[in-house]
Amino acid sequence: MQPTAEQIEQDLLRPLFHSSGKYWVAVAIAASLLLAGVAAFGYQLYAGIGVWGLNSPVFWAFDITNFVFWIGISHAGTLISAILRLTNATWRRPVTRCAEAITVFSVLIGAIIPLCHIGRPWLAYWMIPYPSERHIWPNFRSPLAWDFFAISTYLTGSTTFLYLPTIPDFAAVRDVSTGLRKKIYRVLALGWQGTPRQWQRLEVAMHIMAVVIVPVAVSVHTIVSWDFAMTLVPMWHSSIFGPYFVAGAIFSGIAALILAMALLRKFLHLEQYLRPIHFENLGKLLLTMSLLWFYFTFAERLTAWYGNSPPEMAVFWESIRKHFAPLFWTMVVCNFIIPVPILAIKRLRTITGTAIASATVVVGMWLERFLIVVPALEHKFLPYSWGTYRPTWVEDTLMASSFGMMALLYLLFSKFVPMISIWEMKVGLQSHGGVPMVAPAEGHVVLEGPQ
């Protein structure tokens, strides 16, 4: 049964105007996690990084794992919504904004994490290439400098990519709201009237952004992988890291997206809009990524094992058999053995099925980054200087607070912006009858062709 245009508008605007008790409980939990993280960061700033579990030779662990994890999550959003827009997949309409929201917030968290994990955060501004009388510039050969540029570009890119499609919705909210809310949304809507010229310009802008954001997203995670690949550390220094990380990013991103959509569907009662077909398609996408991830992991480990160079083998056996074996096999179970059967069998590929699979994938992908970083650093070249690593409560708190921050941002976002784009749903409604699509304002052909 097709919801009518009015019903769409009413359903999607409802969360903006009143929130249930459960919403405030969720916000409270997320805010408390975030506050715990801020307190932990304050203590770490006061005392020093020593409150973490890092030591020599393991100088990176939870900090870089969380960084790569959150930047990984962010890639699914833009990539999926961009690709779906470019390929005109009709089922994309309710999915794109959730995805873009995940991207923006996880890039934001990903950008904040390095600030919290460097030894002297108050000097982080030296990463900015400002001209100074000291004739000192950042070192442009350093992968961290590339990270800085790549992530700032990606943050601005994905924010604009999120903001453009929401302008019509801001206008819709502006028209129905009053008082202060009206003033805010009038500003946010940038004076949108829905004239054909505005629609035409919006379409072109979204089209350009969709085309541009894909290479930026791919480049960001390649550069993040070069934080490892550009060193001589065994099991890091390999050319597979670029594609491996991008595949891993899309993989964990889709999983996060499915999870977020499942939660939204339940809590914001969007059953009519986030229908099983969406979970079906995303589930298939998750299945392909799981297979691709397994292929990359197998290829990397096989080449290391087959090459049999002693430093590499020291790290290899460490994660396959010795210290990190339980974590390694948990990762393989989470990323491959659980998701593939669930997603492959049509009967299991229901909403709850895909949600379960993606939950394990998110955990698995966090472990995967952890198992790239820590075993290699612990067993680097000279056996005398090998070390062991154990996290401390500060690192656990900071990790939990990153999830808390994501949840908080997402919950607040769902209060201020309709999670599903109203105008796109309406456009989708009209095109359903096989008639060439005409924009709400007449006289203009919209992007997609006949169904």
């Binding site: 020093g48 030779p57 030296w126 000192i136 350093s142 062991t388």
Partner: protein, 235 residues
């Protein structure tokens, strides 16, 4: 011709007495971490004597290997530092500029020799132990990476002295704290560009190898292999 400071470690002379380790602590204001921090892997030794067992009882063999910063020409830690805190000086030293370091710790991860140490906490000396601190060497604070500097304060002092006396630096006029204290003269420091210097002569010996040389880091520390009883003619 600019200096190119280098060192030769004669593994046949090194007895593992670790006088170099304590001399380095005394010269370069390296703090002791205390039992708890040492247990967490934060003890700092700019030079360490690595020991490897080979074989089992009744005829085990031990190999001692003093390891310090190799001041590599192609140092993996230099390109990765985002703020130029780790860079190569014209005199061939891999310098660590403490106040430019923001503590990303990327250099320590990139270093294959694990000779870089991080100040996880502000170092603390129970008074009056701090009176021993060498005023020529800066006391590092929290969040900063540190490593062997080939006793750069001694290099600078000697260069300033030579410049004041308008003369060239002579080989052996000064040396690093570890080489000076090493009883069996296993550590020899000097200017590799000065062909008359002892270190240059020894660095070209056929016993010379480079630690992890296969990684292409071009270290400036040459290890002279241990001799065996058979290959030396005995009188």
């Amino acid at each position: 011709m600019a200096h190119k400071w280098g060192m030769v470690v004669d593994l046949d002379r090194c007895t593992g007495c670790e006088a170099c380790v304590v001399a380095c602590h005394a010269e370069n204001n390296i703090p002791t971490a205390g039992e708890d921090q040492a247990a967490r892997g934060r003890a700092k030794h700019w030079i360490r004597v690595e020991r490897y067992w080979e074989g089992d009882f009744p005829n085990p063999r031990v190999r001692f290997q003093p390891v310090l910063c190799q001041q590599c020409d192609e140092a993996p830690c230099e390109p990765v530092c985002p703020t130029y805190a780790s860079y190569h000086t014209p005199e061939g030293l891999n310098s660590q500029v403490y106040n430019r370091c923001i503590g990303t710790r990327f250099c320590a991860n990139a270093c294959p020799y694990n000779v870089r140490f991080f100040n996880f906490y502000n170092p603390a000396w129970d008074k009056p132990l701090q009176l021993q601190l060498n005023p020529d060497v800066s006391v590092r604070s929290v969040g900063v990476m540190e490593k062997c500097t080939f006793c750069v304060q001694r290099i600078k002092a000697a260069e300033i002295q030579a410049e004041a006396e308008k003369r060239e630096l002579k080989d052996g006029e000064f040396t690093t704290a570890c080489a000076q204290s090493c009883p069996s003269k296993a550590l020899i420091f000097g200017d590799l560009n000065d062909s008359a210097s002892e270190v240059a002569r020894l660095a070209s010996s056929n016993r010379g190898t480079k630690l992890l040389g296969e990684l292409g880091t071009k270290p400036n520390v040459t290890y002279l292999e241990r001799g065996t009883w058979e290959d030396a003619t005995h009188g």
